[in-house]
């Protein structure tokens, strides 16, 4: 008797549920769930905030609606630790059932998240982690991985060429002692030496060094310039301490030595220093001007490439989802559609090579104190002095030849001209 009653109640309940289920799609489309992993605590929390703000700004602009699908963004804190990034990714995938993972900042986070995407068959989009091999020698392991940012060496091949074109013959490299530093220096050295220049010394201060006192006096005096790759707080200290020591020769820097996460906090000693990246907030295009103004009025700070790359990532996801009328097409199709995109981002035109890394402009930028975009104060900007259009991660070497050489490391390319 009771069991019959329960069964009847169950049937009724099922009927009600079915009715709701049938009614629901007519009202709203299935939402697109995006998991976003960024360091919100720890030494690079500022970068995490820049990244999240960039992504959210795009969502605000389209009112969290991608091609008809409401977007649910779930942000998790990686604490800048690779294994925390992994557990947070698992949470996003297993509990929140996200269809897309975006995020990570440090290269080890990228290396940690990519296998998760393979194992769980979830798309992982790297907007920031720049480890070369993710879209080079190891790409085959990661079928659901795509990069919207850059490879560490990508802007530094053109920069090496540029330095050579300036007539620099001998350069001393000083760079943070970890994989990102090796890949940046490697790219610069390869292009610079292929053009006839010589890296005559490599100095590796530990990551997050604040006092460069022990390193500066060892810089060889017969060099024409210094190439520096600094990260986070290091970027503020190095040019200051080098100039205070009386060094007057030019400084050429890797992308993060002078990006807008550091630049607004630098002093006038940085004026004249040159660096390269796929984005500059000082880029004089109407689209970038609008982007900078909107970002700045919203978040009170000039956007850095961390903001731009995430903004553009959101834009790209929107473009894919629009194509499919707001329906998530499944991970394989999503990756295929995304890597076929060509978008006009604040950084300029972006498309993808067949290893799912962006082909984009690389800007050589010089730090100048000037007024831009109608702001009334003199500020430091990375003014673009030369544009290398449509640069791929393989520069001019060609994919096959490039992939034959090992990934850039502390010992590759070897320092032939070091004594």
């Amino acid at each position: 008797m009771t069991s019959k009653l329960i069964r009847r109640a169950g049937l009724l309940l099922t009927g009600v549920c079915l009715a709701f289920a049938a009614a629901a799609p007519a009202v709203a489309q299935e939402e697109l769930r995006i998991g976003f992993i960024a360091p919100m605590t720890g030494p690079i929390a500022q970068v995490g905030a820049d990244a999240t703000n960039g992504f959210k700004m795009y969502l605000d602009r389209v009112k969290s609606n991608f091609g008809g699908a409401p977007v649910k963004l779930i942000v998790e804190d990686s604490q800048a630790k690779p294994d925390t990034a992994v557990t947070k990714a698992k949470k996003l995938i297993l509990d929140d059932h996200v269809q897309l993972l975006v995020g990570g900042v440090l290269a080890p986070e990228g290396y940690a998240l990519a296998p998760v995407s393979t194992a769980e068959k979830v798309v992982y989009i790297s907007a920031i982690p720049a480890a070369d091999d993710l879209t080079q020698r190891q790409l085959a392991n990661y079928p659901y991985f795509i990069r919207t940012g850059w490879t560490s060496s990508q802007p530094h091949h053109p920069l090496g060429q540029w330095a050579c074109d300036q007539g620099y013959k001998k350069i001393v490299a000083i760079a943070a002692d970890y994989a990102f530093g090796y890949e940046v220096v490697g790219g610069f050295q390869k292009a610079f030496e292929d053009c006839g220049g010589r890296i005559i010394q490599k100095i590796w201060p530990p990551l997050f060094t604040k006092d460069f006192g022990p390193f500066i006096p060892t810089i060889k005096s017969d060099a024409d310039a210094v190439f520096s790759l600094m990260v986070g707080p290091m970027a503020l200290q190095f040019p200051k301490q080098l100039r205070q020591s009386g060094y007057t020769k030019p400084i050429v820097g890797g992308g993060t030595s002078y990006d807008e996460a550091a630049l607004p906090f630098m002093g006038d000693e940085a004026i004249g220093d040159v660096s390269a990246l796929q984005y500059s907030a000082a880029l004089q295009t109407p689209q970038n001007e609008a982007f900078v103004k909107e970002y700045r009025s919203k978040y009170g700070k000039v956007p850095s490439y961390f903001s731009e790359t995430n903004y553009t990532t959101a834009l790209m996801i929107d473009d894919v989802v629009k194509e499919t009328n707001g329906k998530f097409p499944g991970p394989e199709a999503f990756i295929a559609k995304m890597s076929a995109l060509k978008v006009d981002a604040p950084r300029g035109p972006v498309s993808f090579d067949d290893m799912r890394n962006p082909i984009q402009n690389i800007y050589i930028k010089k730090v100048e104190k000037t007024k831009l975009f109608g702001y009334d104060k003199d500020e430091l900007w990375g003014v673009v002095i030369k544009t290398y259009p449509n640069v791929s991660q393989f520069w001019t070497y060609g994919k096959d030849a490039f992939l034959k050489q090992p990934v850039y490391s502390r010992d590759f390319p070897p320092c032939k001209y070091c004594e």
Binding site: M40, T41, E76, D77, Q79, K81, P82, D83, T84, V86, T87, K88, K90, K91, L94, D95, A107, P108, Y111, A112, A114, P115, V116, T118, A119, A131, N141, Y178, A179, L207, S409, R410
Partner: protein, 331 residues
């Protein structure tokens, strides 16, 4: 004897309940519980030194690192340890860590107190330096990824299966370490903790006792590493760095040094605040800091001392309650 047996039964009951309940929660909680159990083996191994021998080590992450890197290198390079040979790798991880501990012990055991702390710290940082710099072997700061978890009859990629396997390792480790600290050898360790000089005078070779305890702790640290690397599928210098050693020490203190089981409580509390609470609120760091401060201020014996405190407090209150009852009788 009876209260002790009671305590052991309570612990077994709670652990059994946890083993039954956890698989019915959501997958993220299962993963976190697995991580907490794996890490608590490291914390318990440290507790053998800290709580039972009186040696505060700040280099325990080194052994976790040996186990983890050994597992990762064998799996990523030689495909060893992804089938039935997982058991071999687990044994190798323990052995490797024990060998390292035997080496480090020669240097560290001669010191005590804060000097022991400094030496273990320095040795631990040596291992970190190797992990960070020996790029060709360890992948430098990028670390090493494992593509998948071992599969032998059962598939450890399944969260619940893996939880039970780690739980099994945890329970076995707890049992072995518990037997150890209750043995005459464990008693002599406690003697050394209380007064080393007296133990020496009684004829004990205290150096050898400490040395062996150090090696055993190292071996379990290695086991923790073997399991830990499979929880997230990645090992990086972050796992070997000083803060991981400090974490283990704080977890031991938080749970209650000299209790073993306090290790799993400390590890669970810290990991759940850091990895679960941080998904809910952004001010989780204040909670973690607050927990540390409150425990150190008000519960020097760690969270495990709470039942004892409650008993004391109730005894005191019933005494206090008794007094007014007696008072009218006197009138």
């Amino acid at each position: 004897m009876a209260p002790l047996r009671m305590k052991v039964l309570i612990v077994i009951a709670i652990l059994a309940a946890a083993a039954l309940i956890v698989p019915h929660t959501n997958p993220f909680v299962i993963l976190l519980a697995t991580r907490a159990l794996a890490f608590s083996i490291l914390v318990m191994s440290l507790d053998i030194l800290l709580g039972f021998t009186g040696l505060a080590s700040l280099g325990q992450a080194a052994y976790l690192g040996v186990g983890a890197y050994l597992t990762a290198i064998l799996a990523a390079r030689y495909q060893i340890g992804l089938g039935y040979d997982f058991w071999l790798v687990a044994a190798l991880g323990m052995l490797g860590a024990a060998v390292l501990a035997a080496l480090f012990g020669l240097l560290a055991i001669r010191a005590s107190g804060v000097y022991f702390l400094m030496i273990t710290l320095a040795l631990g940082q040596c291992v970190w330096g190797l992990a960070y710099r020996w790029n060709s072997l360890t992948g430098g700061d990028n670390g090493i990824n494992l593509q998948h978890r071992p599969k032998f009859g059962i598939d450890l990629a399944d969260q619940v299966t893996f939880f039970y396997v780690v739980f099994g390792f945890f329970a076995a480790s707890l049992l072995i370490m518990y037997t150890l600290v209750r043995s005459p050898f464990g008693r002599s360790l406690a003697g050394i903790r209380e007064r080393e000089l007296r133990m020496k005078i009684l004829g004990y070779n205290t150096w050898l006792h400490k040395y062996i305890a150090f090696i055993i702790a190292g071996a379990f640290g290695g086991l923790a590493g073997v399991l830990w690397v499979h929880t997230a599928g990645i090992v990086s210098p972050e796992n070997v760095v000083l803060t991981t050693s400090v974490d283990a020490l704080l977890m031991a203190v938080l749970g209650g040094p000299g209790t073993l089981i306090g290790g799993v409580i400390g590890a669970s509390v810290v990991l759940f605040i850091r990895e679960y609470l941080s998904t809910l609120v952004h001010w989780w760091q204040y909670v973690l800091g607050g927990v540390y401060v409150l425990v150190i201020l008000y519960l020097p014996g760690g969270l495990m001392s709470i039942p004892g405190r409650i008993r004391q407090w109730r005894a005191a209150r019933s005494e206090a309650a008794d007094t007014p009852n007696l008072a009218p009788a006197r009138q």
